[in-house]
Symmetry: D2
Subunit: 134 residues, 4 copies
């Protein structure tokens, strides 16, 4: 996995962050950004799209916040734990909202099931990293 | 300004949000995303780039969070005030961090001065909208 | 407009690019990114969303490409005209596709009318800048 | 890999696209977006950052275009092969430019070596998908 290699090749100190939890969270954010983008589009192609408009919107918000958080976590220069915390809290909130919504459609739509799982993994990865930051 | 026209043409109710504060915050987010992207690049072209690495990093984080927040605020379907609050808090934090950093270079670098001002405007617009959400 | 101030404060040479056309194109890209994001969401809230799914998809693609192009045009360090051309061509194509689609709904939905106009402006700004690059 | 599951759960026809090449290209785009973001930041933390400013800029452009292309490829509603081609061409150009630049620093900086490899993989995945589109 290239994101782990990139962490190993960073030329300075990573500032005492838990590197395994950081790596997991980066991977979860990029995965969730992709899955939410795809789920929004799959919902859009369902015959019952009218029932999925809130789901699409939450998918789009979650995709954007996960992308932003995954990028911010990929940067270590001038590390600021307070800012990292703010990104992780927004990301956990977006993932929770999207998982809550997708779970309501998970029995009927397999893409919502896969997406809810990716959102829960990312929410948990954000919370685990938050806890490790103290 | 097209973002105001877009707010006027939204086909459903905007959910009781303060439309003027919302419009100001959307504009501030997109402006700040552009200015921070440009400031990161201007810093990169300074002879003294070595002194500006933390500024560049903070610019990049702020550009990403402002873009995500500006997009989320441009969506109204299935409005969720809790999620809006989470985005606004992360964005205010990113703008504050970037303004604090850019202000330290504002006397020497005009781009940092312009950027610090855009960040402060966006931070304030986020806080004003947060307050109006109750 | 802060993007013009940022162009003025760039510390090195801008590489002979037409600065007015560049400034216009940056503004058009960021405007179009916002308007397309809002149009996708407004379409999603229309009762006839079923007829607007292709429009929503094209809006989302166009919003992403305009954001990427607007950011790339905001960077001048290590300027590479070939890369600038590639971004502008993709952006003009995305804007044309979105304008073509939105125009079909412009009489019925005001947000599609505003969006089609923003897409045409951005398409033209990209083409004007492409022409000036030679 | 969740992006493959998402392709399998898409509710309509994928429009005759080569699904394996599509899946490879989506994965390559998201990987390259992450690696380029991390490489820009690693370059920023090198003592010799002054020699890496063009590399950082190319990294940032490539990260943005890969993210946009990876998202567009994750959407299938209202599929338009011409637009897909435009995104893939811009992405291959951005990946080539970044790989060319990173390769010049690959012996000295391991992160540039890893990044050049991710860019070449993504460039190739874009070209393979382009070829399959006919």
């Amino acid at each position: 996995m290239s994101h782990k290699k990139m962490l190993e090749t960073y030329p300075k100190d990573l500032g005492g962050i838990d590197v395994d939890k950081l790596a997991d969270c980066i991977a979860a954010c990029f995965e969730c950004a992709q899955v939410c983008t795809a789920c929004a589009d799959a919902c859009l192609s369902e015959d019952m799209v009218t029932d999925l408009t809130k789901c699409i919107r939450t998918n789009l918000d979650c995709a954007d916040q996960c992308a932003t958080t995954g990028r911010a976590l990929s940067r270590h220069t001038g590390y600021d734990a307070n800012l990292t915390r703010a990104f992780l809290e927004a990301c956990a909130a977006a993932c929770k909202a999207c998982a809550d919504e997708c779970e309501q459609h998970a029995e009927m739509h397999e893409h919502c099931k896969v997406c809810a799982e990716a959102c829960r993994r990312c929410e948990q990865a954000c919370r685990d990293l938050l806890t490790s930051l103290g």
